[in-house]
């Protein structure tokens, strides 16, 4: 369905110039990975070397091995925790955001305008002080030290709700909803069949963003979890627990920890490919 032939797509056919521009962007995007790999494949002094070779050294595997097998790091437990936390958070954020976005974008209810403004306003509150009250709240609820304390505050985000609202208001034709309702679909079935389908490309991206953000999140998990039950950034931060930090180990460890994300990218990438709704609208 997503693979409809697209002959006169978008704003034109790509010229070699477009490919050249995108290639520049791609090289720029990949640079940090390559640079991390360069440092991660050297030794502790590589990062401070004035004549950094653009050819990697030979220590990547041993550095990665050392980072992972450091007993204090607790890598495997952290990996499992990170997968749990990121997956649950991403799935829940996508579902609940799409649900709320569907309501805000396409359903009519009293107070929807002010409520949407309220959602957006919550994003404008600076979070730098939030850690203390949030900790107090989690502690009163008895959730500290558990993955729940990381997952629950992130189950749905204002960002996600706002995005899905805007996306669906554009991508989901109101006629379709009307048609579905005329056919006797309940509200939730309408959401299920139309809302979720229409939202798919944006939802896939929201999932990717949420997963990545959660995956890299350090500070809150650091406060509320401990080394016995960490997420990956909390566990890997131990590699920096020294007066002189060996960044070849840190970057090798970080790169290994990024691999699951890259794998996820390869799978999710296909979901982003295309406008499912054209088919639906026409059909």
């Amino acid at each position: 369905m997503a693979r409809r032939t697209r002959t006169s797509i978008g704003t034109g056919r790509p010229t070699p110039f477009v490919y050249a521009m995108l290639a520049v962007v791609l090289v720029g995007s990949m640079f940090p990975f390559y640079w991390s790999f360069l440092i991660g494949s050297g030794d502790a002094s590589t990062i401070y070397s004035q004549n950094l070779s653009w050819w990697p050294g030979g220590n990547f595997l041993s550095n990665a091995q050392e980072a992972i097998s450091n007993p204090a790091v607790n890598f495997w437990k952290a990996l499992v925790n990170s997968i749990i936390v990121s997956t649950v958070t991403a799935a829940s954020t996508v579902f609940l955001s799409t649900l709320a976005g569907f309501a805000f974008a396409k359903l009519r209810f009293k107070g929807s305008g002010p409520l949407l403004v309220a959602v957006i306003a919550t994003m404008a509150v600076p979070v730098q002080l939030g850690v203390v009250p949030l900790y107090i709240a989690m502690s009163k609820l008895g959730w500290t030290g558990t993955l729940g304390a990381v997952i629950i505050p992130a189950l749905v985000t204002a960002f996600g709700v706002f995005w899905m609202t805007q996306y669906l208001s554009q991508a989901l034709p109101t006629e379709l909803i009307e048609a579905a309702r005329v056919d006797g679909c309940s509200m939730i079935r309408t959401f299920w069949h139309l809302g979720l389908t229409a939202a798919r490309p944006a939802a896939a991206m929201l999932a990717l963003f949420t997963f990545t953000t959660t995956w890299n999140n350090f500070f809150w998990p650091f406060i509320v979890l401990d080394q016995q039950n960490p997420t990956l950034p909390v566990a890997l931060s131990l590699l920096q627990a020294n007066y002189f930090v060996d960044y070849s180990l840190v970057l090798a460890g970080v790169l290994v920890a990024t691999l699951p994300l890259l794998i996820l990218f390869i799978f999710t990438g296909r979901q982003l490919v295309s406008g499912i709704m054209q088919g639906a609208v026409k059909g």
Partner: protein
Amino acid sequence: MSTTIAPQSGGSKERVRQDKSQLNWRQRRGQWDVKYSPYLYIAPFFIVFGVAGLFPIIYTAFISLQDWDLVRNSGEYIGFGQYNWVLHDREFWIALRNTFSIFLLSAIPQLVAATVIAAMLDQNLRARTLWRMGVLLPYVVAPVAVSLIFSNMFGDKFGLINTLLSDIGIDPILWHTDIIPSHIAIATMVNFRWTGYNALILLAAMQAIPRDLYEAAAIDGAKTVRRFFSVTIPQIRPTMIFVIITATIGGLQIFDEPRMYDQTGTGGANKQWLTITMYLYNIGWGKFNFGRAAAVAWLLFLIIIAITLMNNYLTRRFVSGEDAVKKSKKTSLKLTAKGGK
């Protein structure tokens, strides 16, 4: 390009409100399904917010009126004394200046670039997934790697950029001494991380544009650029608004990048790149004056709301509804309105 973006961004709420569909069928389902299920759908957000977001906000508001002791979790009511102090502090205004400067240096180029990249990605590319995933890579890089790379690049004495400059006979730039270079460096870090991210958001919106609109425009003889401005931009307006609002909110709260910019994280010896959130953090966690920090948080909140409203107002003023696409939209709205009532 920047001028075309800003004007597009408003009017959203109106449209959203209109679009909020006209579903009043009462045939099979009880009235409550129509009337109340929307509340059910938005409830999870507000429940989670109630658990994890509301208390911190109330707490911050409460302690901003106090001389607050964080550890003892108690304080003495002092009215608006903290606000007064902050508004008379020179550093606050410096931080405000820096925040706006960095915000403008990052938001405008970033949104322009994101839109252009999204438009390029929206074409019939070979190996589409590769290109699309490629632009998101900077967002995936672990923060520690990002901060290392950029401090390596922007070092005043041994940094990569200054080394290259001196190789070609140009004086080194004092990235950590002069105000504007430090803002440019920080904006570069921000743009690096977020351009691809915003490009993909916009791409998702572009993908949802019915292709026949382009075909129609092409038949009318519109060239690529013209199609972009008359079809693409108007069609993605809701998402554009979303991107602008979130970029504004995020940009004015900018914290990680300037904090990572040097080893002290306090904004420079002469506060060259101190931003409001760093100022807030320094007062709270550096000076242990959490009441005052909370007052800064609320002032920043009000500033962000004011800027967002201003944004909205400006966009509405500039939005003209004169293109073909919009007309067709209006027709469809009329249709649905008829069906709805």
